[in-house]
Symmetry: C2
Subunit: 190 residues, 2 copies
DNA sequence: TTAGTAACCAAGCAAGCGCTAGTGTAAATG
DNA sequence: CATTTACACTAGCGCTTGCTTGGTTACTAA
């Protein structure tokens, strides 16, 4: 087995696993299905991953790391106003949501399948990401851009954004940036 | 077997099944777990339901029917203004979401596990419910209460509302009505 | 040449799965 | 009284599951 390394092979296998987990759900995806998709036999899978759980954790970690670095980059390169930061954060969220769609869908809807150890580790990553959101929303509230309870407002916004994976069609006429702009426009007091 | 009847016994079993499906997820809930929770042996389960799939369909149908009748009642008894109807619809949505929380969580997150026949049948119910929403939102747009694309606005609102099942604590200080009011306030142009 | 290592495979185990067959029993129905 | 219906039981079939075992191959480096 290949403890905790990030070999290119393992990365590719993780990407394929994410796709299958989205298509079938984690529980219905068998190690034999995973192996076939990867072009190997089911036994060989356990050379790369300790067990099925570890594949799930790898998928979610990958997605969450990407979300973090995309959000950081977006905030670094955007104007320093509350409004620009709110826009940037919403755009970054949708950008990573659809660039790494499979990984994020798994993170959003299969999180409960993580064993406690993996869940604890990944919770820290997710908390770091959500802290960035709360920060931006606090600024927007202080600047009078939006009104309401900071806790409820951030939950509503993240809910509206995360739910897009259930209906958004990347091949349609709207870009993720369009969605972000429309959402921010909807909640901003004018 | 007890084809398609709604005996009180079957209703109670459906309620217990919903709870287990939420706790464990549909795939990880075995017929033996279901039977134990119901105080019978696993074989006896198939006297009440044709197969495991039918239990899932029964859970989702129950929840969706309740949502429909609660929303209809809310719109019938509320003042006939666009604003009052929007409020009523949001409140009704959260009311049924937490009154029949288990059934709705299953409907939201285990829908894919339905076989095509059951899915087709239940889709009609769900579409009827969503049509009520679109109607109310069109009125709100026409009245100038909110602005934006009718499709996007309704998706964002339903996303924000549905996502509450992931974070809302019924034992906290906020009532579902508080949430509904805060969400409507957030999206209304003032 | 030799040694080490990453990648893979064929075979299969133990456990658990949904579901069926056949039976028993008590109450309701003719 | 005879029959049907509703509900529960026991026993287990046939199959799939995640994972293990014991070994082979290809490549790299000393």
């Amino acid at each position: 087995m290949n403890v905790m390394n990030a070999s290119p092979r393992r990365k590719e296998l993780t990407r394929l696993a994410a796709q299958l987990f989205v298509q079938e759900g984690f529980d219905r995806t068998t190690v034999r299905m995973l192996a076939q998709e990867m072009g190997i036999k089911s036994g060989s899978l356990f050379h790369h991953f300790k067990d099925k759980q570890e594949i799930l954790a790898a998928v979610i970690e990958e997605g969450t790391q990407n979300a973090l670095s995309i959000a950081k980059a977006a905030l670094k390169t955007c104007p320093d106003s509350a409004e620009a930061r709110l826009h940037a954060m919403a755009r970054a969220h949708l950008e990573t949501l659809f660039a790494d769609r499979n990984a994020h869908v798994v993170a959003l809807f299969e999180w409960r399948r993580l064993d406690p150890a993996a869940s604890a580790h990944l919770s820290h990553l997710r908390d770091a990401y959500e802290a960035m959101w709360v920060d931006v929303i606090d600024d927007a509230l202080a600047a009078g851009l939006i009104h309401g309870d900071r806790f409820l407002v951030s939950r509503f916004i993240l809910g509206a954004l995360n739910w897009t994976v259930r209906w958004y069609d990347p091949n349609g006429s709207r870009t993720p940036d369009d969605l972000a702009d429309e959402l921010v426009a909807m909640i901003m007091s004018r």
